[in-house]
């Protein structure tokens, strides 16, 4: 069976109707860019990816502008929202209820196409945020990348004084949920040591309690014991008892963390009308049918959305990195082997299941996050979502295990820094097809580098290039082009990495 875009549109809820151009989707002004509100960052990564381009991306007809960039033609256009009364969409997968995917909200989205990781990287966790070393080691590329671990950008932000210039209300520098998604230094304040996966939270309620500031307790507490604990560590560190230099480094790193704890304990914040959370995600995930209960999976992540919204309202955190590994499908079998690993089969049967699962994530998790954040902030007309960059990326591009043509969907303008309401296609339609997978109908062609996106995100969050770049040409993430793909990425593409991605800067 060969699927068509129309097929999926029908399957998900009806025929495509008129597709009006969205109003007021012009670039935000410089005035907006000078927002008084601090930018926030929320990253969602889902497993697998592998949704074919015709289902994932908007219609090519919406690409109304083009220009030459980095040696090839790139394209953009305003996002075109369609609706049929019950459902609205900007692409077959990017669809939701008309009350959720409103015209206004669609105007705050961006859909980016043609961003490549120019190497093979299967089963990675953290790659979407810049740590390409966390992969399955398959292929020579995977082994090579083991040698270049890097902090993920959420942790770069979490420990950036440019991003967190004022920590007085920050209870948690970052919120992490989902396994092996967020990676950081063992000594983050000095950006040194080893790169390890940050612990992730299983309980949304526990996470909520870490960012929520209840009304002041009137009783006078005893001095925090953390001060005394620090003394105990200092005493050991300074003693003349025998320790190795590595022992002392460990103590130093531990004391850095106690400093951070002390800072957090001294935070003063006001959560206003935010009610305490009562529902917890952990029991949901422990349900016996959780693996094939998409409603439970959606609810699980909606509870984390609730935490993010509360943290942003309270001002107690500005960064979240979530890794949603669930299938968002009622498929009751081996999702990984039977669906994800077979979604590229030309008959399209598994692709249909996969695409529907991604649609559900977009509709019920990503849009849910957007809605929770799309509430007024301060006295201007901006919302928290406007002052946020929410980003949904996927483990693979349009073919499972393929890192070419990564799918990136964003919401919010990062406090006016980003132009929104766009479908931007950076891939080179005249470029030679590249794939690691034989027998595909899907044709992937090279575009710009994903490192450039990560650099753009960090710049949008207020970090200067020199604060994060590891390659002289800019961008973020280890720069490695596998030899068999080197010819697809001319120097002009690599040299562009330090720039904002075209059409994104407001």
């Amino acid at each position: 069976m060969t699927l068509s875009r129309r097929h999926l549109l029908r399957g998900a809820g009806g025929f495509a109707l008129a597709l009006p151009i969205l109003p007021s989707l012009r670039p935000r002004s410089a005035k907006a860019a000078a927002s008084v509100h601090p930018p926030r960052f929320v990253a969602y990564t889902t497993d697998h990816g592998g949704v074919w381009s015709e289902f994932m991306f908007p219609d090519d007809a919406s690409l109304t502008e083009q220009m030459t960039y980095a040696g090839h033609t790139i394209r953009r256009g305003d996002l075109v929202r369609g609706e049929d009364g019950a459902q609205a969409w900007v692409s077959p997968v990017l669809r939701g209820g008309t009350a959720q995917l409103t015209e206004a909200l669609a105007g705050k989205l961006n859909v980016l196409r043609g961003l490549d990781l120019p190497f093979y990287m299967g089963h990675h966790t953290g790659g979407q945020l810049g740590n390409y070393a966390a992969n399955d080691g398959g292929g020579e590329d995977g082994q090579t990348l083991y040698g270049s671990p890097m902090p993920t950008i959420d942790q770069v932000l979490a420990w950036s004084s440019a991003f967190y210039s004022d920590l007085s209300t920050i209870r948690e520098r970052s919120l992490v949920a989902g396994p092996y998604h967020s990676w950081g230094w063992s000594s983050p304040s000095t950006a040194s040591g080893s790169i390890t996966a940050l612990p992730w939270e299983y309980s949304s309620l526990a996470l909520f309690n870490r960012i929520f500031v209840p009304d002041e307790d009137e009783t006078t507490p005893r001095p925090p014991v953390a001060d005394r604990v620090l003394q105990a560590y200092q005493s050991l560190r300074q003693s003349d008892r025998r320790l190795s230099s590595a022992d002392r480094r460990r103590l130093d790193e531990h004391m850095e963390r106690i400093d951070e704890l002390q800072r957090k304990l001294a935070v003063s914040a006001d959560c206003g009308d935010v009610p305490p959370a009562t529902e917890d995600s952990a029991p949901i995930a422990n349900g016996s049918s959780f693996a094939y209960d998409p409603a439970a999976q959606v609810r699980y992540w909606q509870l984390y959305n609730e935490v993010v919204a509360a943290a942003f309202v309270c001002g107690t955190s500005r960064v979240a990195a979530f890794h949603a590994r669930e299938s968002f499908s009622d498929y009751q079998g081996d999702w990984h082997q039977d669906v994800a690993h077979q979604a590229h089969f030309p008959d399209g049967a598994r692709q249909n299941i996969l695409a529907e699962a991604h649609r559900r994530f977009f509709d019920e998790v990503f849009l849910d996050l957007c809605q929770r954040l799309d509430i007024p902030e301060g006295d201007d007309d901006s919302t928290i979502l406007d002052n946020t960059l929410a980003m949904w990326s996927q483990e693979s591009g349009n073919v499972t295990h393929e890192s070419i043509s990564q799918v990136v969907v964003t919401a919010g303008s990062a406090a006016g820094c980003l132009r929104t309401g766009q479908y931007v296609d950076y891939h080179n339609r005249q470029g030679s097809p590249i794939t690691f997978t034989d027998g595909l109908d899907q044709v992937t062609r090279p575009g710009l580098l994903y490192n450039q996106l990560l650099g753009t995100v960090l710049q949008a969050m207020g970090l200067p290039n020199e604060a994060f770049q590891t390659d002289p040409r800019g961008g973020y993430g280890a720069l490695f082009v596998t030899p068999m793909r080197a010819g697809h990425y001319p120097s002009a593409v690599l040299d562009a990495m330090g720039q904002w991605l075209p059409w994104l800067q407001a």
């Binding site: 093979y120 398959g138 292929g139 704890l261 081996d334 393929e402």
Partner: protein, 602 residues
């Protein structure tokens, strides 16, 4: 039984390198292009024990999550008497919130990692220690009854004149257990200061709670703080551990928790730094039931048992339902299958004087539950009497256990079975698959057996896949194809279409050349042959020794510095020493009682 080392080993080393090197790279790379960096792990004869080499230590090793949780639980149990359970209940959330340890694998390996090797310290650990300490302090002093249980009646009587002595006594006694050694005068003074400044004028329960909180978060509880005592003659930068340091090392290794009173008392008497005293305590600690959990952790992680697929995931799907027939896996079936393997390991390691060969060649069921016993076709084991023997002559050894055969689907996974034996049992390094090899998983066929499907997919001559799969991976999995994807014995494979309709039956072939030693082309006719070939090769014994040393040292072993320990354990296993004794002996090695303090960080 004493076994001499395999005669082929000297030849093996050279050929091993070639064999494994030949199955690597994208596009069927040339074996001759490989270099020594990709050589397989050394077998026994490649190890060169040099007792003068400095054995690196893990820097300021922290307690694992399990160790931390048990320590706190034991502290509460040993301090609170009848009030302990109530305190445990109240602090449960704080213990559960402790960050998980991540399985830490050998370089290039994706499975088989030990969680106690995870030494990362994150902000979450510091936050959790603070929260746990504060909560524990609050809970232990929440009522007069608890304060009395913790400190004695001096803390709650009306006599203020005994308060100072009461507090000092508490700091010294509780601190001795929490910090696992007597506190120094300076430390006592420090904790008095924590209590309420420099002078004790009243006994405030919240101040007692603060003392508890600080102790819980202190480096002496959170880490293994080791300073060493006397230098080790002839080994650079290396010192013998002190009595109390030895007490902690021993108890945490075998019990995953703090030393008990007897161990602390032995340390106080200076007995642990004597050979006789140490041996006596090693014997006692190893024989204690608390050792069981530690060994369960070891075997569970070494044999990848956390990765056993959920066996009930596909109940309700047409093909799986047709395949499973009357047997319906439940939500606990996977855990039962894992328990069966672990019960087997402990039966031979602790409950009897079994050997590692007994595990490799066991033909008995350790299934205590009906579901696993039914799959085996035996009666459930009562856990006390002699485990029932299998009627099936092919059901021999570890590789024929349900947990290691069942796939959670209707089709077996010969490739993964082969990878487990290569990496998990033999410690061979298999090069990574080519880019995107996983894009074409084996499919259940209506015309072919799983073996035939796998052969067609991965053994086509001249392909990159064939260089690894044909000689090294697939045969190890093919020899157990006489068991289906639930681990049930079979002689033929029932073939289904996608709707679960039976469309044919084909005979099973288990004959293969497993290349256990990477040299001998001896044919295995089935799983029993494979089990004997594995046992006879001695290679699983060396592999087990490696992993036991890894688990014991808390780091990836190094052939240059850890050869003496690996060789010792391996030789004991090869000589037919009881498995328990071979494992216990690690604590009698001098390296176990020493610590390096080199300035380069080791």
């Amino acid at each position: 039984m004493s076994r001499s080392r395999p005669a082929l080993v000297p030849l093996l080393c050279a050929v091993t390198a070639l064999a494994l090197a030949g199955c690597r790279g994208r596009g069927g790379g040339d074996a001759s292009e490989d270099d020594d960096d990709d050589a397989p792990p050394a077998d026994l004869d490649e190890l060169q024990c040099d007792p003068t080499v400095t054995v690196p230590a893990v820097a300021l090793r922290r307690l694992s999550r399990r160790q931390l949780q048990r320590t706190v639980a034991d502290l509460v149990a040993g301090s609170m008497g009848a009030q302990a359970q109530a305190v445990q209940d109240e602090i449960g959330w704080a213990l559960e919130a402790w960050p998980e340890d991540l399985p830490t694998n050998a370089p290039g390996r994706k499975r088989g990692g030990f969680r106690r090797l995870d030494q990362a310290v994150h902000q979450a650990h510091i936050d959790a220690a603070n929260a746990l300490g504060v909560e524990l302090g609050r809970a232990m002093t929440a009522t007069d009854d608890r304060v009395t249980a913790l400190m004695g009646s001096c803390a709650t009587d009306d006599d203020a004149s005994n308060d100072e002595a009461c507090v000092v006594d508490f700091i010294e006694s509780f601190g001795r257990r929490a910090l696992r050694r007597p506190l120094t005068d300076a430390e006592v003074a420090f904790y008095i200061e924590v209590f309420v400044g420099e002078t004790i004028t009243s006994l405030d329960p919240s101040a007692v709670g603060d003392v508890i909180a600080v102790m819980v978060a202190s480096p002496q509880l959170q880490y293994f703080v080791e300073h060493g005592a006397d230098p080790v003659d002839g080994v650079a930068d290396t010192y013998w551990l002190s009595d109390y340091e030895l007490a902690s090392r021993l108890s945490y290794h075998f019990w995953q928790t703090m030393p008990d009173e007897e161990l602390l008392a032995a340390a106080e008497r200076g007995e642990l730094t004597t050979d006789a005293g140490w041996q006596a305590q090693v014997q006692r600690v190893f024989a204690d039931p608390r050792t069981r959990q530690s060994l369960r952790d070891f075997f569970r992680e070494m044999w990848w048992l956390d990765g056993v697929a959920p066996l009930d995931a596909r109940v309700g799907t047409p093909v799986f339902d047709a395949f499973r027939g009357d047997f319906e896996p439940g939500p606990d079936t996977t855990a039962h299958a894992v328990d069966e393997v672990l019960d087997m390991a402990l039966f031979y390691a602790l409950d009897t004087d079994g050997t590692f060969d007994d595990i490799l060649l066991s033909n008995r069921s350790f299934a205590k539950t009906d579901d696993i016993a039914q799959l085996y076709g035996v009666a459930p084991w009562d856990g006390v009497s002699e485990p029932p023997a299998f009627d099936d002559p092919q059901r021999v050894g570890l590789a024929t256990r349900i947990a290691l055969l069942a796939s959670g689907s209707a089709n077996t996974r010969p490739i993964m079975k082969g990878v487990f034996i290569r990496e998990g049992l033999l410690c061979d390094d298999i090069p990574p698959p080519p880019d995107n090899a996983a894009a074409n998983p084996p499919q259940l066929s209506a015309e072919q057996t799983t073996r035939e499907v796998v052969e067609a997919l991965t053994e086509t001559e001249g392909t990159a896949c064939a260089t690894c799969h044909a000689p090294l991976i697939n045969p190890m999995g093919f020899v157990t194809e006489n068991y289906d994807a639930l681990g049930r014995a079979r002689t033929e494979q029932v073939l289904f279409d996608e709707e679960g309709r039976e469309v044919g039956r084909k005979p099973i072939s288990t004959q293969a050349v497993p290349l256990v030693d990477l040299v001998s082309e001896e044919v295995a006719s089935g799983s029993a042959d494979l089990a004997h070939m594995l046992a006879d090769s001695g290679r699983p014994h060396v592999c087990l020794a490696r992993q036991w040393v890894r688990f014991s040292l808390g780091r990836i072993e190094d052939d240059d510095t850890d050869a003496c320990m690996i060789e010792d354990v391996a030789q004991r296993l090869l000589d037919g020493e009881s498995l328990g004794e071979a494992l216990r002996q690690i604590a009698l090695r001098p390296e176990f009682r020493q610590r390096a303090f080199a300035e380069d960080g080791t």
